[in-house]
């Protein structure tokens, strides 16, 4: 019987899914039910994870917070699918929380799809109708991305069992290209500035935050799992793509005027920073550095994007909050963005990718003016409204590394996670 093999984790996840579904159904009557259902489902899932594997608390708590902020921010928009949108966001968050808990290749891919597909619907959310044009633009590339990613992943896993060098290279490139398309890494970033500037800022804040995490973890998971003698040399491909993405993103953002577009390019650059972590797959012993750096970077990116997009939606937010988010993006210590960059640089240095270290640093410098510009243009006086509370929550998140949680704590748990992932593989 199935029931005999169920553990706390599975029970928690299952009940979360059930509550989520019930909440979404109920939301046709009352959209509040969808919201509360989503929150309860997330809390149950988080508790289940925390109870079963203590080391995942740190990771899970960040996902929980990001997801809750995303859920709350949906209040700012009156969509036609009000209620269901909560369910979609919560589903993405559940998949994101779950991905570290599995050692099953199929479940990793399933998590990727679970995070990707809800965004197809979310991206079209608009007040009074659906943003079909943006949706088509987005979905076209997402489908291509998911297909590339999945085929690449399957080829790689196949080579794990029956090694073939040329297939490995092909699979690696396909997977990385799929990832690039999915998260918006140059030179496959064309959809990003358009979608980011023409879709509604609230769903974009979700796509730019929560949806970015799983693809990276999945890619890292599969690449580490399938790494072979060729990996060390082929990581150069990732490094070059990452470098291109940083330059394109930062220069594009520096010379763009529209705020949404600036944030779009900033995402291109940010994903470039995170992509550099993938060079570490050749040496799993440094994966904890890359994981720490990449995740902190993704969290900082999520917090910043949520804050800025909500500020765009709400016509500006309290000025100091905007500046703190900008400084976190730039990488000013001791904000979270700094720690993300620091650990990424450490992992690159360990891998002896010193030229890439230089490029990351130069790009951080290039990014300073436009982040300050964003903060200046979006900064307004304090008003007690939803936008400011969401931005405050985002700021608390990037300040977490200063006041609440020492970075060592996150870092050491990442060390354990990297080990468990390694053992699981």
């Amino acid at each position: 019987m199935m029931g005999l093999t169920l553990n706390v984790m599975d029970i928690g996840m299952l009940s979360a899914l059930v509550i989520l579904t019930l909440g979404s159904i109920g939301s046709f009557k009352n959209s509040k039910l969808g919201f509360y259902g989503a929150i309860i489902a997330l809390v149950i899932a988080f508790s289940a994870i925390a109870l079963s594997v203590a080391h995942f608390i740190s990771y899970g708590i960040f996902i929980l917070v990001i997801a809750i902020i995303n859920l709350v921010s949906l209040e700012a928009i009156k969509s036609e699918i009000k209620g269901v949108d909560y369910g979609l966001v919560a589903l993405m968050a559940l998949a994101t929380m779950y991905i570290f808990n599995t050692s099953d290749f199929a479940l990793v891919l399933a998590a990727l799809v679970l995070v990707s597909v809800p965004t197809y619907i979310l991206v079209m959310i608009r007040e009074g109708g659906a943003n079909v044009e943006v949706g088509i633009k987005y979905i076209t590339f997402m489908v291509l991305a998911t297909v590339l990613f999945l085929i690449g992943a399957i080829i790689l896993v196949y080579t794990k069992n029956a090694f073939d060098g040329s297939l490995y290279v092909l699979g690696y490139v396909m997977l990385v290209l799929g990832l690039c398309l999915e998260v918006g890494v140059a030179p496959l970033h064309e959809w990003v500035p358009d979608v980011f500037s023409s879709a509604d800022p609230i769903p974009i804040s979700i796509i730019a935050s929560l949806a970015k995490i799983v693809p990276f973890i999945a890619a890292l998971w599969i690449l580490v799992y399938t790494s072979c003698d060729l990996t060390a040399s082929i990581t150069l491909f990732t490094a070059v793509i990452a470098a291109i993405s940083m330059f394109v993103g930062n220069i594009g953002a520096l010379t763009s005027k529209e705020l949404g577009r600036v944030l779009g390019y900033s995402t291109v650059a940010g994903m470039g920073y995170v992509l550099t972590c993938l060079v570490v797959v050749a040496r799993p012993e440094y994966m904890y550095l890359a994981l720490t750096g990449g995740l902190l970077m993704l969290f900082a990116n999520a917090a910043g994007k949520i804050g800025f997009f909500n500020a765009i939606k709400g016509g500006g937010a309290y000025s100091p909050l905007m500046y703190i988010l900008a400084f976190s993006f730039i990488g000013v210590p001791p904000l979270m963005g700094f720690w993300g960059k620091l650990f990424i640089l450490l992992s690159l240095a360990k891998m002896e990718y010193f030229w890439l270290v230089g490029i990351v640093v130069i790009n951080s410098a290039i990014s300073i003016p436009y982040y300050i510009r964003l903060a200046t243009e979006l900064g307004v006086d304090w008003k007690p409204n939803l936008t400011n509370f969401i931005c405050l929550a985002a700021v608390v998140m990037v300040l977490v590394t200063v006041f609440l949680l020492p970075v060592e704590w996150f870092y050491s748990t990442m060390e354990v996670i990297a080990q468990t992932v390694g053992i699981a593989i």
């Binding site: 291509l144 290279v169 959809w191 358009d194 594009g252 010379t255």
Partner: protein, 662 residues
């Protein structure tokens, strides 16, 4: 027994700490009139400590070395030494500073910024003591920079440039494009700029030694293998870089100009910094280093390049000696004349110390268990005698400037009768200093003659003709030197013009200062006679050559008193008074070259950098990339699909090709 550490702390910190109250009270006229006594007391503490070290601290290594960790990881520690040179020079420095400080209580009364003056005066004393007692080159350099800063602060003390009495040169006198007249602010600038010019290569030399040697302690560095390791060219470059710092600080040619215009500072400053201690610091550090290099040892003669270094020092020193003395013959400004004679004396110290390379057995003296060349000893004793004698003369000059309100020599016999104390002190200081037998400097100078005569014999034996020149330079310098000091005496007290103003009352503490200062000369004479190591000086005084030179010096001295000015040579005198046009180097050639280089850098270098980073290359590149990035964003899905699919295909084909190649 007081702890060593406490002694050193008091020695270095008492002057600095005791001058802080007057700095804090700079606004209160009442307090700034009283607090100088505290500053002087601080220096008095240093005197006591230096005497305590002199009498009780061990003389011989390793007991004479005191190390306290500072940055032990880098081999930089607080390492002090109480060897022969340090224990004597420490007392000399502290005592002279103390006497001058007493004099300064009177001299600086009513000045417009006493806080500034006393702080830098005391900071200087502490820095000089640090230089004297340091064994670690880095620590020495810290003190060394303190000297430079204090020198700048004190020369430019009268920064308002509002009183002609503080100027050097005649106002409005122009030669070519230059006005040969310098205000205090410019004097300060000339000093610090020249000294910094030398300090930079010196710092690099110390850095090089730090890299090459496991230790920076002068007494512990294995100089022989250090030099052998870097070869002839390395040795010469290293030592010349090091020496640039010493030559600039000691105002040797061609870096002597700053010392002449340093006379724009208060006379106390001229006496302490610019005659007795700071300018002597260059020669002192050379002595200190040579003491441990021990170049007279046969094995050091096998080091390629080292001889060239000592030849350079020998001739820079002796040429500076002659230049300074000759320049002095044309000078009529009291302090500038003394400044020229100072650089001359320091040149002789350098010359004698450098001669140690060729002065080995049997002219070695045993000091603290080490056999030291007598050439070094004589250079040091000349430094000590010169310090007290010249400081006395400067202090007298300061008193005369107060009394006559003129910085030019003036005052006849009538004036001398009313100014008996300064008159007598001047007679003592000049006669004791120029080398008239049997007064103090005669014995030292005799040994110096002996040393240079030895070089002459060396030259005739080995055929190194250049070594025959030093004795001639020394004798000529000694004679001219005697003449200029006699001229100083004569023009101020015997045959000078009647002063326009006479302001003779007061000045009690000033008199105390220089009387005490000059009286030390007797103590030194006594020491020369009783000390074991200076026994050779007395023997040298009995040599025919020394006696001959001594008598000649005496004759010149008397002649110069009777005829202090020779009008038929006035053109030559003007040329000498213009320091043989050396000011052009400082005020014309170097700045013009600097401006030329800065113009090139501005016109080409900066524009290039600006063009690359700010106006053309990088911004242009950004423009192109940015246009490219934005050109893609047409907004049409079909063009995006083309781009993305095209790129994906290209990448996949590349991957396939690479895969096939495996």
């Amino acid at each position: 027994m007081i702890d060593d550490w406490v002694v050193f702390l008091l020695l270095f910190l008492a002057p600095v700490l005791s001058s802080i109250p007057i700095v804090l009270a700079y606004k209160s006229k009442e307090w700034t009139e009283k607090l100088p006594y505290l500053s002087v007391f601080g220096i008095f503490v240093s005197v006591l400590m230096s005497l305590y070290i002199f009498f009780t601290f061990p003389k011989e290594l390793p007991a004479s070395q005191f190390a306290y960790p500072w940055i032990p990881e880098l081999g930089i520690n607080i390492v002090l030494i109480t060897d022969y040179l340090a224990r004597y020079m420490g007392v000399v420095t502290a005592v002279i500073a103390f006497f001058i400080a007493i004099y300064g209580l009177d001299y600086m009364k009513g000045d417009y910024r006493p806080s500034w003056y006393w702080f830098f005066f005391n900071l200087f004393t502490a820095s000089m003591l640090l230089v004297v007692y340091s064994d670690n080159l880095f620590l020495l350099f810290v003190g060394w920079e303190g000297l430079g800063a204090a020198s700048w602060g004190l020369i430019g003390h009268w920064f308002r440039d509002d009183d002609d009495i503080a100027y050097v040169g005649k106002a409005g006198r122009k030669v070519g494009p230059l006005e040969l007249s310098w205000p205090p602010s410019f004097g300060g600038w000339r000093a610090i700029s020249t000294i910094r010019f030398g300090d930079v290569p010196m710092f690099f030399a110390i850095a090089a030694i730090w890299v090459l040697s496991p230790t920076l302690n002068i007494s512990e560095i294995d100089w022989g293998s250090l030099f052998l390791g870097i070869g002839a060219a390395g040795t010469i470059i290293l030592m010349l870089c090091f020496l640039t710092g010493l030559f600039t600080k000691s105002a040797q040619v061609p870096f002597s100009e700053w010392l002449m215009t340093a006379m724009t500072g208060p006379t106390t400053v001229s006496a302490l910094l610019h005659s007795a201690t700071m300018v002597a610091a260059g020669a002192f550090v050379f002595l200190k280093v040579t003491w441990y290099i021990q170049p007279w040892k046969p094995e050091m003669h096998a080091i390629p390049g080292l001889e060239i270094v000592f030849i350079v020092v020998l001739f820079v020193g002796l040429i500076s000696g002659l230049y300074g003395a000759l320049a002095g013959t044309g000078m009529l400004e009291r302090k500038v004349l003394l400044a020229a004679s100072t650089m001359s004396s320091i040149g002789l110290m350098f010359g004698a110390a450098a001669a140690s390379y060729w002065i080995g057995e049997p002219l070695l003296v045993e000091i603290a268990g080490e056999k030291i060349s007598v050439a070094l000893l004589v250079a040091f004793w000349y430094m000590a005698v010169h310090a007290f004698a010249k400081a006395s003369l400067f202090l007298v000059a300061g008193h005369l400037i107060h009394a006559t309100h003129s910085r030019f020599c003036c005052g006849g016999f009538e004036f001398a009768k009313r100014m008996k104390t300064p008159f007598i002190v001047t007679i003592i200081a000049t006669t004791f200093l120029v080398g008239i037998p049997p007064l103090t400097a005669y014995w030292v100078k005799s040994m110096m003659d002996e040393v240079h005569l030895h070089l002459f014999h060396h030259a005739t034996e080995t055929g190194d003709i250049h070594l025959a020149i030093p004795i001639a330079l020394l004798i000529i310098t000694s004679l001219v030197y005697s003449a200029i000091l006699a001229k100083f005496l004569s023009l101020n007290f015997i045959k000078g013009e009647k002063p326009e103003h006479e302001h003779l009352e007061g000045g009690g503490l000033m008199k105390v200062g220089y009387v005490l200062m000059a009286s030390v000369l007797f103590v030194l004479t006594y020491h020369i006679f009783v000390l074991e190591e200076t026994e050779g000086f007395i023997h040298a005084g009995g040599e025919m050559l020394s006696l001959g030179v001594g008598v000649a010096i005496f004759i010149v001295y008397i002649a110069a008193i009777f005829k202090p000015r020779i009008t038929s040579l006035s053109k030559l005198g003007t040329f000498f008074n213009d320091r043989m046009y050396l000011p052009f180097l400082n005020d014309y050639i170097v700045p013009k070259t600097g401006f030329f280089i800065s113009r090139i850098v501005q016109n080409y270098g900066n524009r290039g950098i600006d063009g690359f980073f700010n106006t053309r290359v990088i911004p242009g590149l950004f423009g192109i990339i940015s246009r490219g990035i934005r050109a893609i964003q047409t907004g049409y899905l079909k063009s995006y699909v083309k781009i993305v699919l095209g790129l994906v295909m290209v990448f996949l084909i590349m991957a396939s090709l690479w895969g096939l190649g495996l």
